[in-house]
């Protein structure tokens, strides 16, 4: 039983997506070894995905008995506000850039852009904070913890 009595924007659609995803997981789990035995490698994945199917159906059923919120926020506004979308895009670019330009350059660039966008104190402040952070991170992880940091394929 839900302790939250109001539906969040897009919650029903999300519950439907969970049911579909769980169904897909179950079919993938079934393809491992089918119902050949009780101790095969596919049994636990089928049990787990079976629990996912049942619980996602219960979650979906639960959404029908809850009230719609009086707030007029759309699903996009609730789930993907512009700030989250932009930040996630920068994070994705960062992940793509690491194998090419290496950790130091990619992280420095990411910190600069992200702090500039979120803090809005101007490029100079963002540059100083990112540079100081990178020096601290390099010192702590590379020198103290002796962690190998990812290098880029371009240089």
């Amino acid at each position: 039983m839900e302790t939250n009595h109001y539906l969040r924007p897009g919650e029903q659609a999300f519950a439907v997506a969970l049911v579909l995803l769980s169904g897909l997981f179950f079919s993938e789990a079934y393809s491992i070894s089918g119902f050949k035995g009780l101790t095969t490698g596919g049994v636990m994945p089928m049990l787990a995905s079976g629990v996912m199917v049942v619980s996602s159906l219960a979650i979906l059923a639960g959404t029908f008995s809850r009230l719609r919120s009086a707030e007029t926020q759309t699903t996009i506004d609730y789930l993907f506000p512009l700030r989250v979308v932009l930040f996630a895009s920068v994070v994705a670019l960062y992940a793509v850039a690491i194998p090419y330009v290496g950790f130091i350059l990619a992280s420095g660039g990411f910190l600069f852009v992200a702090i500039l966008g979120l803090w809005r104190k101007g490029p100079l402040w963002s540059l100083v904070i990112s540079a100081v952070s990178m020096v601290a991170i390099y010192f702590l992880f590379r020198i103290v913890f002796q962690v190998v940091l990812p290098v880029g394929s371009l240089w």
Binding site: M1, V51, A58, Y78, Y94, F103, L118
Partner: protein, 496 residues
Amino acid sequence: MIETLGYLAISWVDPSLLLLTALGTFAGIYVGAIPGLSVTMAVSILISFTFKWDVNEALALICGIFVGGVYGGGRTAILLNIPGAPSAIATAIDGYPLAKKGQAGEAIGLTTVMSVVGGLIGVCALAVAAPLIAEFAIKFTSREYMLLGVIGILLVGTLSGESFAKGAFAGALGVMIGMVGLDPMTAESRFTYGSINLMGGIPFVVAMIGFFGVAEALVQLEHVAKLPIKQSVARVTPAWSDVRRYFKLAIKSSGIGTLIGALPGTGGDIAALLAYDHAKRTTKDPEVPFGEGAKEGLIAPETANNSAVGGAFVPMLTLGIPGDAVTAIIIGALFIHGLKPGPLLLTDTPHLFWFIVGNLTLANLFLLVFGLTGIRIFTKIVECPRAILIPLIVVLSAVGAYAIQNNPVHISWALGFGVAGYLLKRYGFQVGPVILGVILGPMIDSNYRRAMIGAQQNVGQFLYDLISHPISLVLSLALLAMLISQLPVIKEMRQN
């Protein structure tokens, strides 16, 4: 006896371990206090860097962070009305009103002393109870471990989420993630799709960094523009009369905290809320009403959440079942170091158990020192804007995910899990059960299969075994009771 004392004192006499414990406790206080950073997040990122260290060094740092972090969350709850950690939610109810009255220093001083009292009681309980439980747990078979694993995942889902279905879904999702890779018993491919990277499985640290670190960073974006509140802090050392007056309450709250912490899948947050509720119900004439700055409302949760630390280590070290999310990560750290938490840990590696006991005690003493000093600098540091913290969390998560196997693909995986965790969190799912599922899933899988082979692959015999052996019967009944208690009819009856 002399040997045990020697193990207990390892971190007290070795300068590097002493320093690491102090550093961990100090860092933990700040990590726990800065809103947006959590102990779970810090420990999960840190684990990937410490796995090349000696196990004692890694544990000294992690224990320090754990003890400091649980306490640190209460400081921001008092000063800024923002609990730095879930275990400090109840602290804010009476702590912040006290700060508004200009008694922030006094409140912090009192919570520091009582937190140390709670922490030490939790450690004592660990030292006394764990060997007894471990001796009993040696009798456990595959069946019992399978049941314990399932109970552990479901307990977290039941107690921490919005609904049982969401908890069960999150736990099962975690088990699915834990199943990726080659089956350790038959080498059969499971969800690998021909990828070499997936054949080795998904390291749980990568999933943890994604679900706790990156997801939290995305959630925190909503609060990026919030300005921190500034508080003035005067005298920190608490009055002796206050310590004496509330000592009995601290002892009772420590008992609640230790017990709740020792239940698999619970933790400091639930312990703190229950202790607050207990204090509210049993305190007849508080000086100030609860919710308006009652010291009882401050002491009960803070003592309970610190005593829950010692409690949480009990199931972890004796049964291999985590007491909460942080101990789930510590289990992973022990596995990385080639150790197997469970009843045999105490007989095979007693030095490790007593080292943890001694180290937790030391961390609590450091807590007293750091807790009563440096408050003014502390208030400046916790005002660090989220706009700087959030990108830093992402960078630290990337280093952590990469460092575990020096594989750049793991960075993308962690970021992907972060997005999944963000979506789940936005719709009221807890990510704790997902991580427990990732860690306990393979254990449940292998124990289920062993138990089923033991029952000659006969479902009837397997079910009969679950109820015909005393320990299995108790665990099966506990599992059944948990499931029944979640039925809508029963919940409605309880509410009425």
